[in-house]
Each structure stands twice: as C-alpha cells, then as structure tokens.
Amino acid sequence: MIAFYFIALLTLASALLVVLHRNPIYSALGLVNTLFLIAVSFVMLDAELIAMLQVIVYAGAIVILFLFVIMLLNVESEVRSARISKIGTAGLAFVLLFAVELAVFALVRDPSGAQELPAGFGSTELLAETLFSKGMLSFELTSLLLLVAVVGAVVMARRKVES
C-alpha cells in the first residue's frame, strides 16, 4: 500500500513535469518517467506482459520519436505567456470538475470484494490466447492502421523534402 502511494506520487509528479516544463526535452523525459512508472503499476496489477510492452513500445519507441522531432527542429524553449484563452480556462475548470467527479465516483462506490485471481492470470499465454481468438478482427485491422500510418507519415514527411 505504501509502495502504491509512493509510485502514484512519483507518477503524478512526472506527469506534471510533462505539462509544466518549458523545455520540450524535459517534457519528453517526464513522459518517459510517467510511462515507466505506469508500467510499474501494471506489474503491481499482475499484467507483466503489458508492462514490458509498455516499456518497449512507449519508452523505447514513441517517446524516441518525440525526441527525434524535438531534436530535428531543435526549437528554443517556449516563452511562457501568462495568457490562457477563454476556451482554455473553461476547459481547465471542466477538467478539474471531471477529475474530482471521477475521484469521488471511484471512492464512494461500494468496494466489491476483490475476487480471487485464478492461477496464471495475466500470464503471457492467457493474454495471447485472448488476443488471437476474441481480438482476431481488431488484430488484423491494426495491421491496416499501421500500414496507413506508415504511408501517411512517409507522404507527409517527404513533402517537406521536396519543397
């Protein structure tokens, strides 16, 4: 329980770093840290495979992509303007309300007794069998999504080369 609060606090702190730091490189590092700590939470929730994939895919690939773009453009730190647009203010208020509501909802709800986990829950085998039976269609569609992403990204990025 103490471990959970410790990790939760660290996660929130690094999430705040992402949003608050002016230098995008630090934001990216905060993001890596957040994702890594969420992976730790996954381990505590008996989802070891998902946790490792989280590290490989997010920390090892997606954030690297962010870092590449930051370095590719090599932009200066953003000059922070105090002005937040009206939509932004309204949105922020809404977000706060939403967070409070979710939190209250999650806490007030009767804690139904945690069910006994069957042996092997969260194991690679079980997950893979679910993924390749129930999730078959989504799995194939995923490949199409990735194909579209590759083609789209290459087309967009190469347009820059020619111009």
Partner: protein, 368 residues
Amino acid sequence: MDLLISFVLALVALLILLQLTVLLLWVERKGSALIQDRVGANRANLFGGLLPFNLGIVNTLMADPLKLFHKEDVIPKDADKFLHWLAPFIAVLPLFVTFAVVPFGDVLVIGDRVINLQAANVNVGLLFVLGMVSLGVYGVVIGGWASNSRYAFLGGVRGSAQMISYEIGMGLALVAVVLTYGTLDLQQIAREQGKLMWGVIPAWGVFYQPLALVLFFIAGIAESKRPPFDLPEAESELVAGFYTEYSGSKQSMFMMSDFIEVAIVAALVTTLFFGGWQVPYLQRDGFHFPGGFFVGVPSLVVTILQVVSFLVKLFIFCWLQILVRWTYPRMRYDQLMNLGWKRLLPIGLANVVVTAVLVLALEGFTIK
C-alpha cells in the same frame, strides 16, 4: 532471508558484469596488440616492476578506473547541467539491470533450500531485456544533446538512428528463438537446452536457429555501437561522438556501457543459442553420457561446473566480438542503414515465417 538471498544474487550478477567489463578493457588492449603484432599495455605494475613476473593484468584492472575516477569532471559552459549528469547515468543503469534476468546457473542447493541462480526470475525475461536495451538509446540522445556541441549532437543523432534501426532486426531474431522454445523465461530457455537431439547432440539453440544467431549477433554488435558499426563515435569524423564533451568518470561510464553491451550480447548469445549454463550431458545428479555411461557428481560440484561453463562461454563470445572489432573496417552510413533495413529486417521476417511453418509441420507429424 529471501530478501537477503535476492540481494546477494543481485550483487553477484552486478559483480560478474563489472568484473567482466573491466577485464574486457584489458583484453581489448592486449587483444588488439596481439592482432597488430604489438606488445600492448604493459606499463601498469606493482612495486615498480621488481617482481620477476608481470602483474600487468591486475594493475591494468585497478589503474584504469582509478585514473579515470581522479580526473576532473568538466562540464562545458553552455551545456544543460542536469542533462549532462543524467546522460551517463541513464546510459548505464538499464544495462546494469539487464543482467539481473540472465541465469548464470541452474540451482544451488543448500540444505533444504533451493536457490535459483538468477537475480530475478521474471517470466517475461526476454522482453525485459529488449525493453532495457531499447532504453539505452536515451543515454546517447541526451548525451548528444546536452553537451551543446556539434560533434556530440551529430554523434547522438547518428547513434540513436542506428540503434533503433537494429533493434528491429534484434527483435525479429529473438521472435524466432521464442518460436523454438515457446517461452519468454530465460531460465526456462536455458533448461530446455539441456535435452539431447537424437540422444547425442545437446539441443542448443544454435542447431535450431543458426540464422537467428547470425542476425542477433550482427544486430547486437551494431546495437553496442562498436566497430564496424562505430559511426556515432567515429574518431576520424566526430572526435568521440556523443561523449566528446565528457571527462573523468562520466566519460568512463559511456566507455563502460560499450563493454557492458558486449557482455550482454555475449550473455544472450550464450543463454539463447549455446545452452546458457549447460555443460553437455551434465544433469543435476551427474554426467549422463550417450550410451548409458553415468558418472555421479555431487550437487555442489554440478553447480560450480555450470557457473564456470557459463562464464567460459560468456568470455568466448566477448572475445569473438573483440576479434570482429579488429577485423572489419568501419562501414559507411548508407551501408549501415541498408544492412539494417534491407537485409536484417526481411531476412528476419522470412526466418520467423519459415520457422513457424516448419515447427507446425514437423510437430504436427511427429507428436500428434
């Protein structure tokens, strides 16, 4: 008690790794001297060379780190101080931890307590290794960016693009290995290799997956940024690449991360393709030679033999990488990228598909 045991195991894994890297530093110098017909490092000695024999190895092991640790830590004035500190730390930490999931022996039996000789018996160990290796890119990227130097920046960009390109080849080679053994647990994979093929040949991964071994070895060398793939730190072009602006112990961390990667590649090659800690024909109670000969060996001796076998194999593959380093000239960047994307990736994919079809076809006929 359990905590104490896992602490000791973690310490042992870390010490194996550290000793090996420092030893490799010396072996690399002596090895290059051997290949280039020189004498090599022979100056560091105890008692001013009064002893009749050369203590060079011991002292090179001590002298190098001690010298580097006593150098001044220089941070360039325009550098981002925090990131400059973070980069060597983040380059080395995931690599240190990787060794925790590598099994260096079967089990140690003390009284009625059976200890698994592996710092952390994670059952998705192989993915853990991949994840940690992929985190290694951050050290390069951040180190290159934080120094605020052109050479470092170029080296960092080159290095990260190279590392991510070869990670895919590495991943595909490992998928084929997982297909063969059907598990991600490294200890389990090592145990599987204790079986025999046709009662004679040890069932090591190299006999099932020779192509995956080659792919993995190439990708591993490229991943560790050593020659012939050392473009990120090519001396003649980029001074020292992403760690140009580092000195003292922080620079030695980057140097060390190279050697740790060598050790990790060797450890994985050993574990996945050459039986890990397996000694041919040695079971837990003794040698079972083909033809029914049996030589009983006490359990403690078996464990020691296995650990020694692991270390010997580990060292052989480290040495092989050093040989490769001093044999091949550096590649051009386009050749490097071509090899990664146009050779390793398609061959790796084909290997996975062929393996899957073969396994299904053969096992379908023999077992069911």
